[in-house]
């Protein structure tokens, strides 16, 4: 999982610095020139420090989780598998087949290719995929296709786990 700082938090930090630095500078100048009561430059310097520190603590951005390109792509694939299973359960086998062919098939091949170091996971994935393809060829009962798509989802998630790729499952 990649961790990155988000843009809005970074902007808050920058704005805090823009405000804090002049406050400290002006405070130091006023103190050096004794142009005002001592309380004023002291307050400016302390206020500037407070804003600067606050900008990087109170306003510190939470670490924003970003998914890698692969996680985004495989996340879409898993979502499509989930949709295909739902559509199949409703008896729309052609629609389930189209979703599988358009949004799943190629990415499953890519995933299996990536699993070259985990042949067991790759094997289970490809076996589950072949069962679904055979179902679609034979136009099986909706329950059977839906069940086999469920097995494929399980095998897919196991393969993604093996690659340390974090993807949301079916809702």
């Amino acid at each position: 999982m990649l961790l990155a700082h988000g843009g809005e938090g970074g902007a808050a930090n920058f704005e805090a610095l823009v405000l804090a630095i002049p406050m400290v500078v002006v405070g130091v100048i006023l103190f050096a020139q004794k142009a005002a009561k001592p309380i004023v430059p002291v307050a400016l310097v302390l206020g500037g420090f407070a804003i600067a520190v606050g900008g990087f603590t109170v306003l510190k951005p939470a670490a924003v989780e970003e998914h890698s390109d692969a996680e985004i792509a495989y996340g879409e694939m898993v979502a499509s598998l989930c949709e295909a299973r739902m559509v199949a359960a409703d008896g729309e086998l052609d629609d389930a087949g189209a979703i599988f062919e358009d949004d799943v098939h190629v990415r499953l091949h890519d995933l299996a290719d990536r699993l070259s170091d985990d042949r067991a996971a790759a094997g289970r994935l490809l076996e589950a995929k072949q069962v679904v393809e055979a179902d679609l060829d034979r136009l099986v009962e909706p329950e059977e296709l839906s069940s086999d798509l469920g097995d494929l989802i399980v095998a897919t998630e196991a393969g993604l786990d093996s690659l340390d790729l974090e993807v949301d499952g079916c809702e």
Binding site: D69, A73, D102, H109
Partner: protein
Amino acid sequence: MIRRGLAALVVTLGMVAAACGGNGGGNGDVGGEGSSSPDGELIVQTANYDLAVGEQSRFLAGILTPDQLFVSHGSVDIEFFYLGTREGEGTAEEGPTATAEFLPIEGPPNQPGPVAAPGSQGRGVYSADVTFDRAGFWAAQVTANLEEAPMSGRAIFEVYEEHRYPAVGQRAPRTDNLTADSEDAPPEAVDSRARDGEPLPDPELHQMTIAESIRRGEPALVVFATPVYCVSRFCGPITDMIGELQSEYGDRANFIHVEVWRNFQNTVVNKGAADWIYRNDDLLEPWVYLIDANGVIAARWDNVATRAEIEPLLEKLPKNG
């Protein structure tokens, strides 16, 4: 056109070379380095396994748009450029040009195009007969006149001095591949679909060895494929297609399916497959070979084989029955 293509190629050669590993051309892996093409160009992936110098070869390219739609149907234009013997170095030199026709792997037959469409509306590759005059690295600059706007992309691939795999005109290896009667192998080693107690599919493709067919002086159409464990994105129902051809042309040739894996998970390759398709730690499948009655390889198809390409050759064979 060629000049413009050459200039574009020279400018972006370094970028493409960095994005494309090995001789596979523009890799279309999900989330991989090659999943996005430079400047939204087409993703072009060469699908050949064994291109060699000096003879007409069937060049194959799979093409996707940057948003992973298949470019399908119709034809595309290809300009080839010779890049030299070292990958990522040298100056591009103009080579042959070709118009490549769509070869559907699955879905409807070739239609007017090209179009960018999801896989269910046509998945396949573009094919052109090309002769490469030098060994080394080549680039294929592909232009597809899509309805929305023309798009182009390129792939880099290698042409070898000699074929690495059994080739047309060579004597076919006398292989004792597994058959339905092989008692020393589990059913899934004969066909990967015959696992978990499933019956052996297409039993008519598992009756004879290649060696026996050659000994009898009979032609054979042999498919080396693993229906379950194929990882190529161009995988299609090639074994099913060979089975269909067997039902129509079984009186003209022996039809044989050689399963690739004896045990996929333990990476054990069937010897009958290794004799043909395993070279220098490279196992590439699927392949289809036509062996003539004299035991000589008459034709071969790497990666993608279609009924339209094979059937005319079968029709020329005499009926034996």
